[in-house]
């Protein structure tokens, strides 16, 4: 059964007719006149905020079956066809901050990120060096706004880091800063949409699993972190780097 974020049907911002914004193998992004982005994802992508997850593993690059999207009250139409669906409710995960446990996670993430950095970035590229140095410096200082729209990728690396940082805040804090209202002017539409939901503390199944995996049950953590690190070109790296930096800063205040 097709799964739809319930928010899409209840929030007025998401009502209306959408046109295709961008398309990839596993994801199609649609935009409406409110500049709201909805992602139609195939079954291999986790359910999450502003997502419509199909029940088959479609390669969107080889089919034009999904060309238009319409959300009208509680009806969902894809390519003019009314689609039956089940509702998905955004996850929420709240944890207590155990210092020792968090230190272990920081050390573990540090090791994994270092390995990934060598694969991702070209040490001879001045641009790559500048990006990584700037991001690390600003993260250490908690200057999230200065990272908006910064770096490589459709969701720029700086945004991924902010996203990971806010995810950490989501897990351990009661409130998080409003980054979205600035983000929509400073970064790409898709990226700001991600931050919109993080701002409202609505997290995907994948992030929920990440939180559980790192801080609760630790089952198959190596495999799952490897999976996350391969999100996009550098998105997974950015999310984990942001999370690690949040954990470090939070530890200093304990």
């Amino acid at each position: 059964m097709i799964s739809v974020d319930e928010y899409l049907l209840s929030d007025g911002r998401y009502q209306g007719i959408y046109h295709l914004h961008s398309g990839y193998k596993k994801v199609l992004n649609f935009v409406n006149e409110n500049r709201a982005i909805v992602s139609v994802v195939n079954a291999s992508i986790s359910r999450g905020p502003a997502r419509i997850q199909l029940d088959e593993d479609i390669d969107f690059l080889t089919t034009n079956k999904y060309e238009a999207l319409r959300i009208c009250e509680r009806n969902l139409h894809i390519s003019d066809e009314a689609i039956p669906y089940e509702l998905w409710k955004a996850k929420s995960l709240k944890l207590s901050f155990h210092y020792d446990k968090v230190q272990c996670v920081i050390a573990y993430l540090g090791k994994r990120l270092q390995q990934q950095e060598q694969e991702l970035f070209d040490s001879h590229s001045k641009v790559d060096q500048l990006i990584v140095e700037t991001i690390k410096t600003n993260l250490k200082q908690g200057q999230l706004e200065s990272l908006l729209g910064f770096g490589m990728g459709l969701t720029p690396l700086g945004d991924d880091c902010i996203f990971g940082y806010l995810f950490g805040m989501n897990l351990f804090d009661t409130s998080i800063p409003d980054i979205y209202s600035i983000a929509k002017e400073k970064t790409t539409l898709i990226s700001s949409e991600f931050l919109y939901h993080m701002n409202q503390q609505r997290i995907s199944d994948a992030l929920y699993k990440l939180g559980k995996c790192l801080f609760v049950d630790e089952k198959n953590v190596d495999d799952y972190i490897s999976e996350i690190l391969h999100y996009g070109s550098s998105s997974g790296y950015g999310i984990l780097l942001g999370l690690k930096n949040y954990l470090e800063r939070r530890s200093q205040n304990v």
Binding site: H21, S22, Y24, K25, N29, L61, T62, T63, N64, K65, E81, L120, D122, H124, S125, K126, V127, L130, I131, T134, S146, L147, L148, G149, F150, G151, M152, G153, L154, T155, P156, G158, K186, T187, T188, L189, I190, G232, S233, S234, S235
Partner: protein
């Protein structure tokens, strides 16, 4: 140092593609900087810091993509190469696009085909076939489990509309040189065939090709068409269509024995057509040829007749060569006194029927899962008795599994099982090449043949293997390689299924 930038407006490329492309180009061109970034304010500052902040870049919006290159050579050329590779990648994706429609109605809004192939579960197939016919389309109905009542109703509708309803359970059709579902790569020519049997139709097209003839059309009509209940409606519709077809000069009809009332109707129609008609009713009653209507009861006989009728200068036959007969005699001499029985394990249903027809005329105690006669029925299809001829494509074996023509491995265990029976003398196998069939049916079977031989040898026995490969030299699977592989493993390979069955039966006849 040369520097160049380009802004792609509102362009969203997959991040992984961009990263791998820029890394590849940087490595190949040895450029000092190749960067592809979204033109956000922060990124524009960054690009400016490395000296690539042109006016275009500074004026770009946050949803635009910027490509920048700095190098000792021609930076513009490298940027253009990146753009081209990105565009080519997108175009390739567009070319690869497979259009999927949810309903026939949606499809007909955009496309106007004249034939539709339906391969839906039987429960839905008749409904879809009806929609297609009502929209004026010829139908190839690959699906089985369509009831006889539904089949009759669909065929009546097709006749009313002067359309073809090929099926249900129609696995083979060749239209104007294009094979649909299971079909062989045969020479195009002027012999048109109507077949109420799948592998029978394939075998006749292959044998005509081997005798130097060619096929104009090969139309499958489904195995029940010549039953009394359907009355040969589509066989006759196809015969009339071939009579009108400019590419066809001879018409062949191939079927297992029809119901007698239907046979008469088909014969009556054949007499009225303007072109010669060869009627191959496998295991049918012998009849005298008439003016323009020829009767055959074997597939190879019918194929030869069709080629001769079409081209009077050609004299054809599939006589067994003396070499093959010598090999066969040598193999037979290696059998022990207890080894008496034939075990034929077929993938092709009509080929199996033909083998059964040949066997029952010569050997006693013949059992088969295809047999209609009570005394010939096999009590358990999983266990051979006396001389056993098995159709492994029967529903009993394929329930929930692919047909053995697609996946011949379901036969492998049975080969080994027969080798363990000390009374087995000959194992007869068929292999189907062509479109739709397994990529290497012989290769996948060789290990089982070798294992079977080893089991027999360990017990002081020798097994005779006889095989037929249904296919031409032009198939996607190499006929020559398949034949060579079998012969290297001491399997006797014949030119027709009839020859294979005849040889196998003769070996057993001698020892029985």
């Amino acid at each position: 140092m040369s520097k160049f930038t380009k802004v792609l407006k509102d362009s969203y490329f997959d991040s992984v593609t961009l990263m791998s492309l820029s890394a590849k180009i940087k490595k190949e061109t040895k450029a000092s900087e190749v960067t592809v970034l979204m033109a956000t304010d922060m990124n524009k500052d960054l690009i400016s810091k490395v000296g690539l902040g042109t006016d275009d870049v500074l004026n770009a919006g946050q949803n635009d993509c910027v490509i920048g290159v700095a190098c000792d050579g021609d930076a513009e050329e490298i940027v253009n190469r990146i753009v081209k590779e990105l565009e080519d990648g997108n175009n390739q994706k567009k070319e690869k696009k497979e259009v999927v429609y949810h309903t026939q109605a949606q499809f007909y809004k955009e496309e106007d085909p004249n034939i539709v192939v339906i391969s839906a579960p039987g429960k839905y197939a008749a409904r879809e076939a009806k929609i297609a016919l009502e929209n004026g389309k010829h139908v190839m109905l690959f699906s089985d489990n369509v009831t006889e009542e539904e089949e009759l109703s669909l065929k009546q509708l097709a006749c009313e509309k002067e359309l073809l309803l090929m099926g249900p359970d129609c696995g083979t059709t060749i239209l104007n040189g294009v094979g649909l579902c299971f079909a062989n790569n045969v020479t195009r020519g002027n012999i048109g065939i109507v077949g109420a049997s799948g592998t029978g139709l394939q075998e006749v097209t292959v044998l005509i090709d081997k005798q130097g003839g060619g096929i104009s059309q090969a139309l499958g009509v489904g195995g029940r068409d010549l039953h009394s209940e359907i009355g040969g409606l589509m066989t006759m519709q196809c015969m009339k269509a071939l009579d009108q077809d400019e590419q066809t000069s001879t018409i062949v009809v191939v079927s297992k024995p029809p119901a007698s009332d239907v046979e008469e109707k088909v014969v009556q129609l054949a007499r009225t057509l303007s072109k010669p008609v060869v009627l191959i009713f496998i295991d049918g009653q012998p009849r005298e040829d008439e003016n323009g209507v020829y009767y055959c009861s074997k597939l190879s006989e019918g194929a030869c007749k069709a080629v001769e009728v079409t081209n009077h200068s050609l004299k054809t036959s599939f006589d067994l060569s003396s070499d093959v007969l010598d090999v066969c005699a040598r193999e037979q001499s290696k059998l022990t006194p207890n080894q008496k029985y034939l075990r034929a394990l077929y993938c092709g249903g009509t080929l199996c029927s033909e083998a059964l027809s040949i066997t029952r005329g010569v050997l006693k105690k013949v059992k088969s899962n295809l047999a209609k006669k009570e005394e010939e029925k096999l009590s358990d299809p999983l266990v051979s008795e006396y001389n056993t001829i098995i159709d492994m494509g029967d529903d009993f074996f394929t329930n929930g599994k692919p047909h053995p023509m697609i996946e011949p491995s379901i036969r492998l265990d049975r080969i080994v099982q027969e080798a363990k029976d000390p009374t087995t003398a000959v194992i007869l196998l068929d292999f189907e090449l062509g479109y739709g069939s397994h990529d290497d049916p012989v290769g996948i079977t060789i290990d089982a043949i070798q294992e079977a031989r080893q089991i027999a040898e360990n017990e002081g026995r020798y097994l005779v293997f006889v095989a037929y490969i249904c296919g031409t030299e032009k198939e996607k699977q190499s006929y020559t390689t398949a034949k060579k592989l079998l012969e290297e493993n001491s399997v006797i390979v014949t030119n027709t299924n009839e020859q294979a069955a005849t040889l196998a039966v003769n070996v057993c006849k001698e020892v029985q």
